[in-house]
């Protein structure tokens, strides 16, 4: 994304905490963000897979959409079934342009208390680099139907990993009743929180929206648990890649449709039949036939990791696609990548080549995710 060097970087309510922890800060989405702490990307990654990592994702855009019928209004810009979304649940979706390209990917939910009260429109979280454009688009497309309250006075903290639930539930017992993609209003640490059981690492965990003034306290209390270490954007990227999750601006952009990106699960059945979302004709055609290109997961079987921009060739050596994000998997100890290739090359087991610095290296299509997800879908 473009970085305007004339514009000072924004900070989050946790910037001082990162600096105090010895983080290496880098520009990201217009913010100064921690790319890694003294542990480094490899240790941070493996710690999150084995214990619990805490992430500052306050650069992301949080907002409330309110109106007479905010769920049906929201369906005008996304292909998901939000009218059918129950209180206390959230759903992943994509904001679409009129040709069915992805403007951003997002989470939108209906947080309520344990008693079911507090339902108040849609709580939406979008990518930091896209947030101004996203909310402008929603405002224009849904003018007169919803009002957008941007929650810029709230930080967002992710706690992820197999020990994240035990750590968080110690302070927020109500969170123990939640399953993957539940979203609740609750009081913990003496403040009001919006908590979802979700994340972007493939692990169990929570994303915790907290008033900015309390962010430092919540961060430090969670970090005081020996099971928790701070994790930077470097490991956040390698964790989401192992989980097979696409990253906006890399694997997703305004030319890529949700069918091409392997996000057909986000296009609900009733919406497919209704064809009432932006770009519906393209998306219906791609669902019926095959799109020209599809996202696949690749294991790089030899040589260097293939990174974004590396060409993908078929067995004959013909270039057929491109890597949109790639790197080294600390769990699999080898190169992994997301790439776009013709549907003829999408079957798991298909041998392909990735071209790194001019050299073809053996690669193979594998099923997503690279590392199994560990979402909690049932509780006690």
């Amino acid at each position: 994304m473009p970085t305007d060097t004339d514009t000072p970087l924004k900070t989050t309510p946790l910037t001082a905490a990162h600096i105090a922890l010895g983080a290496r800060m880098v520009p990201f989405a217009g913010y100064s963000m921690p790319v890694q702490y003294p542990d480094g990307v490899m240790k941070e990654h493996l710690w999150t897979r084995e214990h619990a990592g805490i992430f500052d994702v306050s650069h992301m855009g949080q907002a409330r959409l309110r109106g007479v019928a905010p769920l049906s209004a929201f369906e005008e810009v996304v292909p998901g079934d939000y009218i059918g979304l129950k209180p206390g649940r959230q759903k992943y979706s994509v904001l679409l342009n009129r040709t069915g390209g992805i403007v951003d990917d997002l989470m939108a939910g209906r947080p309520v208390t344990a008693l079911g009260t507090g339902d108040d429109g849609l709580f939406v979280v979008v990518n930091g680099a896209c947030k101004d454009g996203d909310f402008r688009l929603i405002d224009e497309e849904l003018a007169g139907q919803v009002t957008i309250e941007r929650l810029e006075n709230r930080a967002l903290i992710a706690l992820q990993g197999p020990e994240a639930a035990a750590v968080f539930q110690h302070y927020a017992p109500a969170a123990a009743q939640m399953v993957f993609m539940d979203i609740r209003l609750m009081t913990a640490f003496g403040v009001d929180l919006i908590v979802s059981r979700s994340g972007y690492t493939g692990e169990d965990g929570y994303e915790i929206s907290v008033p900015a003034a309390a962010a430092d306290d919540v961060w430090n209390i969670l970090l005081s648990d020996p099971r928790v270490r701070p994790i930077g954007l470097g490991a956040r990227d390698s964790l989401r890649l192992e989980a097979g999750l696409p990253l906006y601006g890399h694997d997703l952009d305004e030319t890529v449709s949700p069918v091409e990106a392997g996000l057909t699960f986000a296009i609900n059945k009733n919406r497919r039949e209704q064809r009432d979302f932006p770009g519906a004709s393209r998306i219906a055609r791609e669902l019926a036939e095959d799109p020209a290109r599809v996202k696949v997961c690749l294991r790089v079987l030899e040589g260097a990791p293939a990174r974004e921009g590396a060409e993908v060739a078929d067995a004959t050596g013909a270039v057929v696609g491109v890597v949109t994000s790639g790197g080294y998997s600390p769990v699999l100890k080898g190169g992994i990548a997301l790439a776009f290739v013709p549907p003829a090359c999408k079957a798991p087991g298909t041998p392909l080549k990735v071209i790194v610095r001019g050299k073809p290296q053996a690669a193979e299509v594998v099923t997503s995710p690279f590392v199994p997800h560990r979402y909690v879908r049932n509780v006690g």
Partner: protein, 121 residues
């Protein structure tokens, strides 16, 4: 041992230069997961990109501090790239060159000058 502003080191013994990346560079890169060493027989000029070192996050070029012909590449780094982190200025060497012009070596920073240079970064 001499150093470059790109954080390579070089040691000259007779006309053979051994080259690696400095402890500072290894620390900055973080965990090294892959090293591409140059092919033996290749001729490089000072400043040419002649190797690549990769961390989890990114790939970085390594530049030849001095010109010459590659006569050896560290075989350990193929299976144990982490040697670059564990022993950057010794066992983690990248390649050996047969040097054409030893005066290029004399022009590089000694350790004291490199330490001073790092302070300015």
């Amino acid at each position: 041992m001499r150093f470059t502003k790109d954080h390579e080191w070089v040691v000259l013994e007779g006309d053979i230069a051994t080259i690696g990346i400095s402890a500072h560079a290894a620390e900055q890169l973080g965990d090294v997961v892959f090293v591409e060493t140059p092919e033996v027989g290749k001729t490089v000029k000072a400043g040419d990109s002649f190797a690549v070192v990769e961390s989890v996050k990114a790939a970085s070029d390594v530049y030849a501090p001095i010109g010459g012909e590659v006569v050896d590449a560290n075989p350990v780094l193929g299976d144990a790239p982490e040697t670059v982190n564990a022993d950057p200025e010794n066992g983690g060497w990248f390649a050996k060159l047969k040097v054409a012009d030893a005066s290029e070596y004399e022009a590089l920073m000694d350790r004291a000058a490199y330490e001073t240079f790092l302070q300015t970064q």
